[in-house]
Amino acid sequence: MTFNERLKVWRYNILPFHVIGEILTKRWTDSAIPFVTLIVTVVAFGTVIPHFFSLYSLQESTRQLGEFSLVVIGESVVMLGGGIDLAVGAIFALSAFAAISVFFIFAMPVWVAFLAATAAGLIFGAINGYLIGYIRLRAFLTTLVTLIIGRAFFEILIVHFSSQAQMSQVSSDIWDFIGDGTVFGFSIPVLAAILLAVITHITLTRLRLGWHILAVGGSRRSAHNAGIQVRRVVFLTYVFSGLTSGMAGFLFATRLSGAGIGTGHGLEILALTAAVVGGNSLGGGRGSVVKGLMGAIIVLVMTNGLIRLGYGTGTNQMVIGILLAIAVTIDIRWLKNRHKVLDEAYVVPVYLKMGAAQSAVPGSGTPFEFNNQLSKAKSIGLKEIEGPEDVILDRDDHLYCGTRHGEIVRFFAPDYTRSEIFAHVGGFPLGLAFDRSGNLLSCVGAMGLYSISPDRVVKRLTAETGRSLTSVIDDAILRDPNDLDIAPDGRIYFTDSTKRYNAYDWMLDSIENRATGRLLVYDPKDGSTKTLLDGYRYTNGVCMAHDNKSLFFAETWACSVHRYWLEGPRAGTAECVIRDMPGYPDNINRASDGTYWMAFLGMRTPSFDLSLQHPAMRKRMTRRLPQDEWLFPNVNTGGVVKFDENYNIIRTMSDFAGEAHPSVTSMREHKGYLFVGGILNNRVGRIKIDGADENWSAIDAYWGTTS
């Protein structure tokens, strides 16, 4: 390797830039910006304000934070449900007044005051919820009006009764404790906020009500059409918001033991700002309690900090205004452009130098030389099936193949003109195999490993494997199960082609060409799935060797075949046995004479091979051109290749003109005939093999004849 090539390998293959894209697919990256803002704010104010982090100072400032957080949690839940609650200021004030009047004027115990405050909040919230949820008024206008009503009520009450409350002599240790005391160093408001946050988070993420709230916020019409009681859910969100504001009002009352005309003034703006700055989405459906809390901390630290730093009236509002504008703009732009950033960052092509291949051009005289033998194949199911990636025959010579409609279709012997849908699996059934009991096993693209019993019952065997510790992307999921084969002890060896792309964007994997393909084994005895090998470029076909001591598997983009030893001194290791082929291998299956058939999905082209050495060009191609224009391996021509135990290529059959079988993904020999299928084709081909054993069938070779 030259120095330039080494540099390229280092830059494109070793440096893990693809991890950036994988991180962006995670949901918790949404909280990254608010989290950074939080750290910056706390650090900035913490350094500028003296004694900011002293225990006492923290305890005092967190009291207000606790009350505020309660309100913000309620506001967040309302926003998650697609609404907005501007009345929280009034609810807060009225509940505080209720608590104060019950405790100081009516001299009731503390718990009655608590009940009064929360009841005031509940009732107010219920009124809001009824108007918005059931009568279907607009949230903004209605809560605005109830805010004005509530504030007017509060001001009337305060003017009339505040002197009475202030002159009251009632006192109580519990009241003072709630207002001033701490438990394990945490003030009561903080504890209340933490408790509420935990309960709300569990409800939102784990309980059905929370999912319904997120559904209604995410798409109200779809939630309604899906049968969710939209009105009731909206009602409950406003009730919850009223409840939390009521509790916050009670805590405020215990802290200050009094209320004035300005209590709760502007609280709704602050709560809204906090909810949005933390990252809760404005239209609803996206967000969490954690985001609300982060926003509450940011807003409160900023406003209190500015006051403590001595900035006069107006600075607070100015800063809050800027904060709100920036937070909202970033939230909206991120929401709209996230998928674009992801598209930009996810595909990170690698540098790969393909080895020189033997020519497959007709007339070149190599064992790979292409011809037109497959064009003579008779068509089965022409235009009736679409996408038979793999074909298999059972003991009665019936033909089975998967289609892209998610079905397994059975063609009846001996003429294969009559067909029926054997089973509906969903997904895209790819590799097929029969096990000892006659169950048809299939690797279903994007879904997993499935088993279909002779009486057509579909069962999923496995859809995930162990998670590797070094992978950012969740590689426990089987994104692309491709082909399988079964060992005599019943264990199923199958391949998962790529970790980074799904069944619908697998073309990007050919352009990226990163080695994330795996060989896995599923043991039906205990239902476990294990990853045996990792780091191949699109593992594809699997075939047990004739002596069952090893298996062959294809590495498609590397144009090579590997052998994995199951027994013997090299058990557990794999070696590359055929490399640098002129075509891309897909499925591998046994032939009747001790050799093996391999399908060529497509052919290597010099322009595509060269582009593998220009990763930046491939990346620009995916960014500047639509998918239809991308360069791709030539899958308009394919064929079938036969190789033996010593890895010699014995013969090649293809449809060079590309009329009947342009790309071939699978072939199966059965009683003297070769059945050929292609994932992009609309037929199965049948061609007679001269000199083949007319009694040989794969299912007998694997499991013996039934006696």
Binding site: F370, K383, H614, D628, F632
Partner: protein, 353 residues
């Protein structure tokens, strides 16, 4: 959208090509046109004594009305340009850079080595297009991939002497149509037709943004013209034209037939580049899929404005239309990529019947 000029600095401008719309609306007319004669590598066409003459490799053939060919003359190298003078003599340009008029060799300036088009004016003077100073006409792909702009247009006397340079710095002039005060030339690599003034050599753009690579021009009865387009514009090719590292690597290591470049025919070898949209799905090769080759003949009116066109699309075979001439009421088209000489009836106005 308004931040695009800034963002484009980082991510590159989108690659766009003019759509096949309006007079260029795609159809299958060429694909369904009648086959006049099979002629391998049929390239240049002209009308001599009311008969069609066509070049096939290094030989010139004359055809009667039924499509029977008679050999006129054979030359030492492939014929790359053909024109018939008002006095019914024909001028032939060869791949080696020679110009023969009525049998005798013309005296050419040393820089002319790539004769791509010839046209006689009304007064008998001969216009000649020199496609490039770096490559012969048969290596046009290399000239495109190197993004050369070294073509020139010359004018000489009827005997083929005293050639005067009229205009240079043209991007592969491939077709010439002489008129009263100058010549209309097709600039292939810039996808446009320019009008070159005979005296001053000034260039004026007549037709811009042709959705293909224009080649030869032939007169039509009403003062308009027939323009052949020999290959389509393809976004992947345009991307490769902007990717210097890949392009130079490709030119030095990949056989020319398999470059990501326009071609006269495609789909014959699996070593050719394939684009995702050209994948045969369920046996169907989509007509609108991206392709390296196409067949297209465009009818221009007297003001050189395109009014109609005939196509052979991506799933067709009649590609590489290098020349089209009208004789009588019939249009003859040379599809070099299919070794076919096609014919169609055309009305006076230029539409097909």
């Amino acid at each position: 959208m308004i931040f695009d000029p800034i963002l484009d600095l980082f991510r590159g401008k989108t690659i766009t090509i003019p759509p096949l719309d309006g007079p260029f609306r795609a159809n299958n007319t060429l694909e369904e046109a009648a086959l006049f004669a099979r002629l391998s590598s049929v390239d240049n066409l002209a009308v001599l004594n009311d008969r069609i003459i066509a070049s096939s490799g290094d030989t010139l053939y004359a055809f009667d009305e039924n499509g029977k060919a008679k050999m006129l003359q054979s030359y030492a190298a492939n014929i790359t340009a053909l024109a018939v003078s008002p006095g019914n003599e024909w001028a032939v340009g060869l791949d080696t850079g020679e110009l023969l008029i009525a049998g005798h060799q013309a005296d050419l300036p040393p820089s002319v080595k790539c004769i791509t088009a010839l046209a006689f004016a009304q007064d008998g003077s001969l216009w000649m297009a020199n496609g490039s100073t770096h490559h012969p006409p048969s290596a046009w792909v290399a000239d495109l991939m190197e993004k050369n702009v070294s073509g020139s247009v010359w004018k000489g006397d009827p005997e083929g002497n005293n050639f005067r340079l009229i205009s240079d710095k043209l991007a592969f002039p491939y077709g010439l149509l002489a008129d009263n005060d100058g010549v209309v030339a097709s600039e292939s690599w810039r996808h446009r037709l320019v009008k070159i003034d005979g005296e001053s050599g000034a260039c004026r753009i007549l037709v811009n943004h042709i959705p293909g690579y224009p080649s030869r021009l032939a007169p039509a009865p009403d003062g308009g013209a027939w323009l052949s387009v020999f290959a389509p514009r393809n976004r992947l090719i345009e991307l490769v034209l902007q990717e210097n590292a890949y392009r130079f690597d490709m030119m030095s290591r990949v056989p020319r037939d398999f470059w990501i470049a326009p071609a006269l025919s495609s789909g014959r070898s699996f070593l050719e580049p394939l684009q995702c949209g050209s994948i045969k799905l369920m046996g169907i090769h989509k007509p609108w899929s991206p392709s390296r080759s196409c067949g297209m003949v465009v009818r221009l009116d007297a003001a050189m404005v395109p009014i109609d066109s005939f196509h052979s699309r991506a799933n067709g075979t009649r590609h590489g239309t290098c020349s089209a001439v009208e004789n009588g009421n019939r249009l003859f088209i040379a599809a070099k990529g299919d070794d076919a000489l096609l014919t169609m009836n055309v009305s006076e106005a230029g539409g097909s019947q």
